[in-house]
């Protein structure tokens, strides 16, 4: 291919300035223009062995769609992506491409890899803006499949099966489809209109969506089979938030990241005059160093906090959040208190007035300083407490972002469904559970993980369900 762009760097992603975006909920990254997208596409060498495809969890035909961008045929590029991914506009925004498709890009050996994620996002946005043609539902094969949970794994599984002609119904416990894409990931990283559009696309493919149905409560897995479904995919997602077990975690002003983000995102507590309240302003400490912690911290900032701290017990080298998210957070002024571990949350107490409404509200986070010791079994250096290093950070809100445990509802009402010691559903390499014709994937299996790994699991299960129903 002629005209290869030999620049060692990716085309930078245009963003709102940190100062500007720190006080609004508009999307931070603005997306490539057509010219920039073509220029970035020209960096792709179109390798024969396609290392990028093999490291893509949903096996998108990456060099193929990038070739179409080079030609300026953006709709053709979209059609290639959509064969493999049911949620391209979402993936292009929130997937950690740096550790997946882009990690194996040949251009990354000397310089930066091709901006595959940015190109995917460009193509999906271009399609959503300029193409009004509805996808045509394929010919029905008369087989009924039920999907539990309208999050990334469930929607992916639903989309793949619908494209093969299955009659798919997705049951969602909340009032809106999207799962973590609507309750967890904030508007400024993933606008909800984009999720809505992707869900509508699936509905046009024939996927039926039933909100306000809690599988395990409203209906059981066994009842789904009685209703005529021939296979079920469980993508019920992450469950109850973990807390540290330190004193003060029930004070007023202590949230799990799940609750804080759900209030802001799903329940729109960030708008003027919301119907769902949220504590805002003052000083906020977010405990944890993952992507969810970054989302919570940056949400608190946008809600008007004076100071937002990330309190993390290891160092910046171990922080598990995506580099891009950490960089954005630092640019916006989030204060990283690393090698710091909370030991107690302190609350207000007026001994003279038991009815003082400030009683029981958070006033400070007591922490200890940590240092890194020997590597643990996973090779991460273990944080060790430094004796007599206690200090307090004055805060009004504490957000615990230290992971979740799988949801107990389905397990407790489905006989024969085996779970591991953490409560995650046990599956084989095809996503099949211990129950015949019941498949599972995403956080319900792995515990808190990424959107793309959930999508990959939904895809594998869709393939396995197709094989199973074709042969039965």
């Amino acid at each position: 291919m002629a005209n290869i762009n030999m620049s060692l760097q990716k085309n930078p992603m245009p963003t709102q300035t940190p100062k500007e975006r720190a006080s609004n909920f508009e999307e931070v990254a603005l997306g490539y223009s057509e010219e920039v997208a073509i220029n970035e596409a020209m960096r792709c060498l179109n390798c024969k062995n396609m290392p990028c495809v093999s490291s893509s969890p949903v096996k998108i035909h990456i060099p193929e769609f990038i070739s179409k961008i080079k030609e300026g045929d953006f709709e053709a590029a979209y059609q290639i992506i959509t064969k493999s991914s049911s949620l391209p506009a979402v993936c292009g925004r929130v997937c950690p491409q740096e550790s997946q498709c882009e990690s194996k890009c040949v251009r990354g050996v000397k310089g930066e890899p091709v901006g595959i994620g940015r190109l995917e996002r460009f193509v999906a946005d271009w399609h959503n803006t300029f193409c009004n043609e509805d996808p045509k539902p394929p010919k029905s094969n008369q087989h009924k499949v039920a999907i539990v949970g309208a999050g990334p794994s469930g929607l992916t599984c639903a989309g793949d099966l619908a494209k093969k002609g299955y009659d798919v119904t997705v049951y969602e416990a909340l009032h809106t489809a999207g799962g973590v894409l609507v309750y967890g990931i904030p508007e400024f990283r993933l606008p909800k209109a984009i999720v809505k559009k992707e869900v509508e696309t699936l509905e046009k493919l024939g996927v039926k969506l039933e909100t306000n149905v809690v599988i395990g409560k409203t209906l059981t897995i066994d009842e789904l089979f009685e209703m005529g479904f021939e296979a079920v995919f469980i993508g019920s997602g992450a469950g109850l938030p973990n807390f540290m077990g330190i004193p003060g975690e029930s004070l007023k002003g202590v949230y799990s990241a799940n609750e804080f983000l759900t209030r802001s995102n799903l329940m729109k507590a960030y708008v003027d005059a919301p119907s769902t309240p949220i504590m805002k302003g003052g000083n906020v400490a977010v405990v944890g160093g993952g992507n969810v912690a970054m989302d919570a911290a940056r949400t608190a900032l946008r809600l008007g906090a004076d100071n937002v701290y990330i309190v993390y017990r290891r160092s910046m080298d171990e922080i598990p959040a995506r580099k891009e998210e950490v960089e954005h957070a630092i640019e916006e002024g989030i204060d990283f208190r690393i090698l710091t571990n909370p030991v107690e949350i302190i609350g207000y107490n007026n001994p003279d007035d038991k009815k003082d409404s400030k009683n029981g509200c958070v006033t400070a986070l007591r922490c200890v300083k940590m240092e890194l010791g020997e590597p643990d079994a996973r090779g991460r250096r273990r944080p060790i407490e430094i004796p007599n290093s206690e200090f307090e950070i004055p805060v009004d809100t504490v957000i615990m972002s230290i992971g979740t445990s799988p949801n107990p509802l389905i397990k407790s009402t489905t006989e024969g469904l085996e779970v591991n010691k953490h409560g995650g559903i046990i599956v084989n390499e095809d996503g099949l559970t211990s129950r015949s014709a019941v498949y599972a994937g995403g956080d319900a299996v792995t515990g808190a993980a990424t959107v793309i790994s959930a999508m990959g699991a939904g895809k594998i299960a869709a393939q396995a369900i197709d094989e199973y129903l074709k042969n039965n």
Binding site: H175, G245, S275, T276
Partner: protein, 284 residues
């Protein structure tokens, strides 16, 4: 969308609705709850199921107008629709193996206590009901309780109806007189439930309380409804939405639950006033 089939005003602030929700009606048992949203921008509020008709596919809910959302809900009429209605959530009240039970309800909590008493009665259990209200005008469900109770005692704070005093007065009297209950089930304001527990403590009668903390999803995702139990001297965090809403009354940290319930008091007061003002403007 979920249609309001029937609306009944029980007293000046308490309203009963029959909602068309066939899947919930088929499944819900006493002690379980639902979550509803009035409209697209509305908040999610949990309400305990006060009864079901699985054949007609209706679910009965009884609520008190206390905040902005219940105010908005009170403005809807028969034939109107709720945006969202999901359930049944939580674990049903454990009623097996009981011979004689005292059901203690307070205020709008009686709406939740009533189906429990009904269920016990239908199981052949000897039911003593003590229901308390602030005054005569606030008394609800008297006939329903009478129909399912072997003994019914009505209490009012000001003595304007039934007996004068708190629900704990006759409870203590009965326990003092050697009355033996296998279980006391109490549903009402946190303070009342706390004192029912304290009244029963010297007699060692098991007490089940129904907790109603602030909640969002109600399915075990957000953790907002957490409460602390003291189990054998150890503090344990539980979630009302999936572990409850019923708990062993002796284990619940009521003071903490009370403090947490006031987390958004200022916000709620303001939102309620705003909603009332909007309503007044519309009326004008």
């Amino acid at each position: 969308m979920y249609r309001i089939i029937e609306k009944k005003i029980l007293n000046q602030t308490v309203i009963q609705l029959l909602i068309e929700a066939p899947l919930v009606a088929k499944k819900a048992q006493s002690g379980q709850f639902i979550i509803l949203r009035v409209d697209e921008e509305g908040e999610r509020i949990p309400l305990t199921v006060a009864g079901t008709d699985p054949i007609l596919g209706t679910v009965k809910i009884i609520y008190q107008v206390v905040g902005a959302t219940t105010k908005k809900l009170s403005l809807l009429n028969e034939g109107d629709y709720l945006k969202d209605f999901v359930g049944p959530l939580g674990v049903p009240t454990h009623l097996e193996g009981l011979g004689k039970v005292c059901v203690v309800g307070g205020g709008v909590g009686c709406a939740i206590a009533m189906p429990v008493a009904e269920k016990l009665h239908s199981m052949g259990v000897d039911v003593t009901s003590i229901i308390g209200f602030r005054n005569r005008d606030l008394v609800i469900l008297e006939e329903e309780f009478r129909a399912c109770s072997d003994k019914l005692i009505i209490m009012t704070d000001d003595g304007s109806y039934g007996e004068h005093g708190n629900v704990t007065v006759p409870l203590k009297e009965m326990l003092d007189n050697g009355e033996k209950f296998d279980m006391i089930i109490t549903i009402g304001p946190l303070v009342m439930m706390k004192y029912v527990v304290e009244t029963a403590r010297p007699f060692g009668v098991p007490v089940t309380v129904s907790m109603n903390p602030i909640m969002i999803d109600g399915t075990g995702m957000c953790g907002g409804c957490r409460l602390t139990l003291n189990v054998d001297g150890k503090k344990v965090t539980k979630f009302a939405c999936v572990d409850g809403p019923d708990f062993n009354g002796y284990e619940v940290d009521f003071d903490e639950a009370f403090s947490r319930s006031g987390m958004y008091a200022d916000f709620e007061r303001h939102a309620y006033e705003e909603t009332c003002n909007l309503y007044k403007k519309e009326v004008q």
